[in-house]
Symmetry: C2
Subunit: 431 residues, 2 copies
C-alpha cells in the first residue's frame, strides 16, 4: 500500500481500487493527480492523441457519488488510439481519420467502463499500429523512441500519467515499447481478449494486451476482460523451471540485451530456479519470414478502403508493406500460415518440462532518434506463435536506460506465465 | 452465355462481365434490370435494408465510360448489412444503429468496388447476424422464412434482384438461407476472407462467404477477395471420392432432407463417384455444445457496448445469449475451444481418402412463419470445424420448395471442394 507521501498518480491500479474502497482517497483525486502529471509532462512526451480532462473528472466525480462499480472503480486508463470510443475521436495515427468519431466503443473499452475505469483519453499509436511513428518520445530521454506501435500507452504508463493502458501487438507493439520505457508489457494468448471494435492490422497476429508498471495490474485488467482469475494467483510457491531460449535471432540481441538475459539466467539459477538451455529447432527460423508474409498479405486487405480512397495519406513505409501484401500470392500466404501452424503444434516439445522460456526481448535500450520505433523481430517471433509473453523491466544500461527481458508462456497457459513472472521479477534484476 | 431473351437481371456475374467486355450490353443496363426486379418484388420480399438506385446507376454509368476496372466490372452486388459501407447506412438489423454511417468500407466492400462491382445496397440481416429475424420473406412463399442471418442476401439472389451477395456465417447463416431459397451458399475456409470492417458476432466462428446462383460466381468472388484461382478450376476431370456423412445430428434431418441426401448419394454413385459411408467418431458430438458455448461467450464480449448502453434495444432472444455468455466461465470457454481444436486436428482422419463429404444441410424446406430463421445445427457443426462448406440447390419438395445438400471440403482445400461441387451439381439432383 502506498505511503501517505506517494503521489496518487504513482499508485498501481490495484492500490487505487483498494484506496478508494477504503475511503482513503477519491476517484476524483486520483484522476486529478494523473491529469496534473500529464499537464506537467505532455509537452515533452506527446503520449496523448486525445485527452478530455473535463470528461474524465466528471466521470470520476460520478463514480465517487455511487457504489463501487466494479474491479476497476476509479482507475484511470489510457486507450491506444486504434480502439473505437464513442465519446472520443479515434484517429489511428493517420490523417485519414482526423476527427473520426465511431458510433460505439470497442469491446475492451466498454468492458473497462462497466468495470468502473475512468477513460482518460486516447494514447498515440504508430500509423494503424504499424511502423510509421507518432509524436511520442521516450520518458527516459526525449531524443529516443519510446518504441511502438503502442508508443503513447507505454510512455504514459512509464511516466506515471496513468497506471495502466491498452496496447495491441501484431509484431512487437506491446513488449518493445514496454521494454524501451521500463515497464511491464503483457501480451496474453492470441484470442484471449476480444478485438471487436479494434482497427485490425493483421487478423492472424493482432493480440490485445496491457501496459502497466507491475505484473498484478496487467493481470487485473486481463481478468476483467476474460474472466480468468490471474490476479489472485500470486507468485509460484516453488521456483519455476525456466528454459533459456536464445532463439535463432540471438544476433539481434546487442550487448545490453545479452547482458540482461544472461545476467537474469545466472541470478534466477542462483535463486533456485530450474534453468535449462532450450535450443530452438532450425525449423523455427522460418517464423520471421512467415510473420512478414502474413503481416503484409493481411494488412493489404485490412487497408483496402484506405488504399483505394486515401492513398496519398498513407505513409511510404506502410504503402511499401501494402504493396508487398498485394503482390503476395494466396499460395505464399497459405504457406506462411501452414509454417506457423506446424510450429505451434511443436511448442509442447520446445517447452519440454519448462514452465516458461526466458528470451531476449529487444536488441538493447531504446535507440536514438524518433524516425523508427525499433526492431520487432525478437518480439514478433512469439506473436506469430500465439503464446503469451511478458516483458519485465529488470535491467538498466550503464546510462540508466531500461532493457527488459522476455518471458514466454506455454500455449494458453497465461496463468503459469504470470505466476512465474512474479517469481522472476523479484529475483532477476541486476543488483 | 445468355440468350437474347434472357433478362439481364438473371445473368450470372461471370456472364455479366463477359457481356460487358464484349460490348453486348452495358453496366447501366444490367443495373437497371436489377433495379426493375427490385422495384417489382421488394414490397413482398423485403430483402433490402438500404437501396440507393440513383447512386448505383451513377456508378454503373461511370464504369461504362471507362476501361474495364477489374474482374467484377459492372456486376451488381448486395452487401449484408453487417459490413461497413462509407456511403450507405450500416444498421446491422438493430435499432441501435438506425441511420449509422461508418467512416469507411469493410475490406470486402472496398475490394469489390476496386474490382469494378456496383454496390446496389445493403441486404437485410438478422439482428447482429444472430437469431432475431429481419423483415425478409422467402421468394418461394412469403409466409415462410428465407432463413438467416444472411436473409436479404439469399432472398435477393434467389429472386434475381442481384446475381451475387455477401454473407457471413457464425452458425449456419450462409448455407441455411441459401438452402431455403434454392441457391448456392459458399462458406470458404475460416480466415480465408478478411473480416476487417465486419461487425463481428463471434471471433472464433465468423466466416465471410458468398451467396450466388451458381458455383462459378461463388468462386469468382472468393478469388477476388483472396487471390486464389478458384474460378478457373472447372469440375474435377474424374469423379470425386465422396464420403456420405450423416453426422450425429441425422435426427435433425427431416424426411425431405433425408430424401435429398440419400437420393444425391445414390445418383452420384450411379454416376461413378466413389461413395463411402463416413462415420463420425462419437467425440464430434461435443461440437454442438462447444459451438454454443463459444458463440455465447464471444458474443457477450462483442456486444459489450450495446449491452451496457442500449440494452432495451436488444431483442430478448439475443439478450438471452448474451446473458448466457456473461455467465460462462473462462474455463468453460477454453474447454470448448480445446474441444474444437482437438476435433479439427482429427479431420484428416475423418475425411480419409474422400475428396469431400456429403452431409445434410437443413432439416428440410423453409419452415412456415417469420419468427425464426430455422435450425442452425446441421450447418454450425462444420462452421466450428473451420472447413469450407457449400450448399447446392439440388432438390425440391413435392410442393416445389428447395432443399439443399451440403458438401464439406477438407481443411483449407476450398479448391478441391469447389471442383467436386461442380461435378456433383451436374449429377446430384432429382430427375
Amino acid at each position: 500500500m502506498a505511503s501517505v507521501e506517494e503521489p496518487l498518480n504513482r499508485l498501481s491500479a490495484l492500490e487505487i481500487t483498494q484506496g478508494i474502497a477504503q475511503g482513503r482517497f477519491t476517484a476524483e483525486a486520483v484522476t486529478k493527480a494523473c491529469l496534473a502529471r500529464i499537464e506537467a509532462r505532455e509537452a515533452t512526451l506527446g503520449a496523448w492523441a486525445h485527452l478530455d480532462a473535463e470528461a474524465a473528472l466528471t466521470r470520476a466525480r460520478a463514480l465517487d457519488l455511487g457504489p463501487i462499480r466494479g474491479p476497476l472503480h476509479g482507475v484511470p486508463v489510457g486507450i491506444k488510439d486504434v480502439f473505437d470510443t464513442f465519446d472520443m475521436p479515434t484517429e489511428m495515427g493517420s490523417p485519414i481519420y482526423a476527427g473520426h468519431r465511431p458510433a460505439s466503443d470497442a469491446s475492451v473499452v466498454a468492458v473497462l467502463r462497466a468495470a468502473g475505469a475512468v477513460i482518460l483519453g486516447k494514447t498515440v499509436t504508430a500509423e494503424f499500429a504499424g511502423v510509421f511513428p507518432g509524436k511520442t518520445t521516450n520518458p527516459f530521454d526525449a531524443a529516443r523512441t519510446p518504441g511502438g506501435s503502442s508508443s503513447g500507452s507505454a510512455a504514459a504508463v512509464a511516466d506515471a500519467m496513468v497506471p495502466v493502458a491498452l496496447g495491441t501487438q501484431t509484431g512487437g507493439s506491446i513488449l518493445r515499447p514496454a521494454s524501451f520505457c521500463g515497464i511491464v508489457g503483457f501480451k496474453p494468448s492470441f484470442g484471449a481478449i476480444s478485438r471487436v471494435g479494434l482497427k485490425i492490422a493483421a487478423e492472424t497476429l493482432d493480440t490485445v494486451g496491457v501496459l502497466a508498471r507491475g505484473i498484478d495490474d496487467a493481470a487485473l485488467l486481463t481478468d476483467v476482460f476474460t474472466g480468468q482469475a490471474l490476479a489472485v494467483g500470486g507468485a509460484c510457491a516453488h521456483a519455476p523451471a525456466i528454459g533459456l531460449c536464445r532463439t535463432f535471432l540471438w544476433d539481434h540481441a546487442g550487448a545490453e540485451s545479452v547482458a540482461a538475459v544472461e545476467g537474469a539466467a545466472a541470478r534466477l539459477k542462483e535463486a533456485g530456479a530450474g534453468l535449462a538451455e532450450v535450443d530452438m529447432p532450425e525449423a523455427f527460423a522460418a517464423l520471421s519470414g512467415a510473420r512478414d508474409t502474413i503481416n503484409a498479405y493481411e494488412r493489404a486487405r485490412a487497408m483496402a478502403f484506405e488504399w483505394h480512397h486515401h492513398r496519398h495519406d498513407i505513409s511510404d513505409k506502410l504503402a511499401t508493406i501494402i504493396e508487398e501484401g498485394l503482390a503476395t500470392s494466396f499460395e505464399s500466404y497459405m504457406g506462411a500460415i501452414t509454417i506457423a501452424e506446424g510450429l505451434r503444434a511443436g511448442l509442447d516439445e520446445l517447452f519440454g518440462a519448462n514452465d516458461v522460456l526466458l528470451a531476449p526481448c529487444v536488441p538493447g535500450a531504446a535507440p536514438e532518434g524518433l524516425d523508427s520505433t525499433g526492431d520487432p523481430a525478437l518480439q514478433g517471433l512469439w506473436t506469430i506463435l500465439h503464446v503469451p509473453a511478458i516483458t519485465l523491466p529488470t535491467h538498466r544500461t550503464g546510462g540508466g536506460l531500461p532493457v527488459g527481458i522476455q518471458l514466454i508462456g506455454r500455449p494458453r497457459d497465461d496463468q503459469r506465465l504470470l505466476s512465474a513472472a512474479r517469481w522472476v521479477a523479484a529475483r532477476a534484476g541486476a543488483r
